[in-house]
Symmetry: C2
Subunit: 348 residues, 2 copies
DNA sequence: CAGTAGAGTGGGAGCGCTCCCATAGGTGAT
DNA sequence: ATCACCTATGGGAGCGCTCCCACTCTACTG
């Protein structure tokens, strides 16, 4: 099967070279922006490229150069969650923007169930991408190990633990939580509770640590009854808030580990007849669209997610460029922690 | 499970052939599932593949076979809209599910602004995908023409006009709207209005056509004042509903061209003190999550979006397999129209 | 029992690039 | 003038596959 368009094949490097009256190597150098070409020759070649409408054949390039010019954003969650959370789309925006500067192609890969993970493993084994961006990875996920075994450059968003071994871009969850609680203390609140995220996510742990540290820094003792586990979902927020009202009805402030959980908590508070912020002050995390649209608008800690996305790309491109074995290098300068910022609104 | 040593190059076809004691061609045939291999040989080769942990080199394959085993889902909208609308994620789910059966890779490409469109054109010119899925294309979009010029197989969701030239998968908007209005008539409503979608979208036009046809079929005359233009947004729904209440305060039913617009209309109705469904019955379109979560839950016309996604993939794979020039074939059987279904809830 | 089909197989000839070595010519120092 | 050493350039040798033709067997045919 002669699988080709009927109207003329696409021109090849060779044909461009003939047209420009130069050798194949020279055209290749021009295409790839090598400095070792005289200005005159470069101009001639560029003219030939334009005339012929030459576009390099990616497959041939990939085969010869052993690179793909593509990177993958791997989301180890079902698509539904991906779309539900503004976190991901903000991240994607940052990544996309930074990547637009380059010739790199972005692949979006979901690995929410076993079948998809199987496919992903196959995909990675085939080295179909030059590097991988990992978002929201759980502590026990085998993916990072697979990646380093295959020697595929990768950058992770957040960290799996304090001893993260991969290059990473994280935000300062400890300081963010600290500032939120400090703010509530400053407002004169005395019984400040927290609804945590899933504690197998390191960032969620750090937020609890920040909560504890802020309470202790104010000279108070941490009341363990006021720390209620959530799971980052709205329903989890509802459950946790209900539990909280039962455990300690006189609670006057809640720091939720995510805006979505704060939204759930808010519903329960409303049903319980508590007014915001008069009876209970509420602070969320993420500063997502939900926070701005809540009634009253929600005070929230803002993570610079888009910027994190950009930083991840920068880091990953550097990893790809520096093809030394990852093990032989230190992590110095390859693990970023970006600052968080409290955005005050009417809920507190 | 083909666990393989972490060091050393990836094995090649040649090496698998040597290991299995057969020729290169035979291994290729096994890998590609050709029937012209004896069972015994096939088993031997498969064993060698497993032992060596062989994974084909995609770039080499693409170069030699002149195909990429990848297709693109092109979204000519900014990312934000993509993530905001359940339409897209449902579509993506269908597409993903159907594609999981194959070896094909899905690329998600946004072309929301000129720069992104520029990149896309470059990308397509490089033939980096075997086919393209086009969603929510406007009547005057140049993309479909570019695609047929490059002879890249493509399938479009919805149609740009009655005379769509591309293979397409649409849903029966006419019948869907008809059944919605018929339902309202059956409820004894007499002043039924409609808020339309953007009329440069063919499907929105067809919904209006269905509305008219149903009204006329009931032996009534269409009152043009009751047809108010919207734009698929919530704000547009609010504006249209406000306009409607002014034009014709005694309206007792509204058929909105989308759930999002229905949600906007519902707000205005609430503010105007109209109760649902007692004073005004409301019906939306899409049966999205919004419909289920409204108060009262919204009657809506369901499009089988996930199924449409599946159908698009089937069609596209057939297009890719049948590499004859698109112009030389008829569109028979390559344009699908799937049925819509009214989902009744408390709002009507 | 030659004659004709297959079925099953091996391997040459590319696909269109990049990499790198060889070479030509230019420059300045000795 | 000689040498060393640049810069700019040409083109051979692959990269790892698929395609396809040639070949060998076997199994029928008449």
């Amino acid at each position: 099967m002669a699988a080709r368009g009927t109207h003329g094949r696409r021109p090849t490097l060779e044909e461009v070279a003939a047209r420009a009256g130069v050798g194949r190597g020279t055209v290749s150098r021009v295409i790839n922006g090598s400095p070792r070409v005289s200005d005159a020759t470069r101009a001639t070649v560029e003219a030939a490229v334009a005339e012929l409408g030459y576009v390099p054949n990616t497959a041939a390039r990939a085969l010869a150069a052993n690179r793909t010019d593509a990177i993958a954003l791997v989301v180890p969650e079902p698509e539904t969650r991906f779309f539900a959370e503004p976190y991901f789309s903000d991240m994607l925006r940052g990544v996309g923007a930074e990547l637009a500067e380059t010739e790199m192609q972005l692949l979006l890969i979901f690995a929410g169930n076993d079948r998809e993970r199987q496919r992903l493993a196959q995909y990675l084994a085939a080295h179909r991408v030059d590097g991988v961006l990992l978002v929201s990875v759980h502590a026990d996920d085998p993916l990072p190990d697979l990646l380093s075994q295959l020697e595929i450059p990768a950058v992770i968003s957040g960290r799996r633990s304090a001893a993260e071994t991969l290059p990473s871009v994280d935000s300062d969850n400890f300081a963010g939580a600290y500032s939120a609680v400090e703010h509530l203390l400053g407002r004169g609140r005395t019984r400040i509770a927290t609804i945590t995220g899933r504690l197998d996510v390191y960032g969620a742990q750090r937020r609890v640590d920040g909560y504890r540290a802020a309470v202790e820094a104010a000279g108070r003792e941490v009341d363990e009854r006021l720390i209620v586990p959530g799971d980052f979902t709205e329903e989890g927020g509802r459950r946790a808030m209900a539990e909280l009202l039962e455990r300690c009805p006189e609670v006057d402030a809640v720091f939720a580990g995510s805006d979505v959980m704060a939204a759930g908590a808010r519903q329960v508070l409303r049903e319980a007849g508590r007014r915001l912020p008069d009876d209970v002050a509420l602070v969320g995390y993420d500063d997502s669209a939900i926070a701005r649209h809540m009634d009253p608008p929600l005070t929230s800690v803002r993570q610079p997610i888009e910027e994190m996305g950009r930083a991840m790309i920068d880091l990953l491109l550097a990893e790809i460029a520096d093809r030394r074995p990852a093990a032989s290098r230190t992590l110095d300068g390859r693990q970023l922690v970006l600052p968080n910022e409290l955005v005050q609104r009417a809920s507190s």
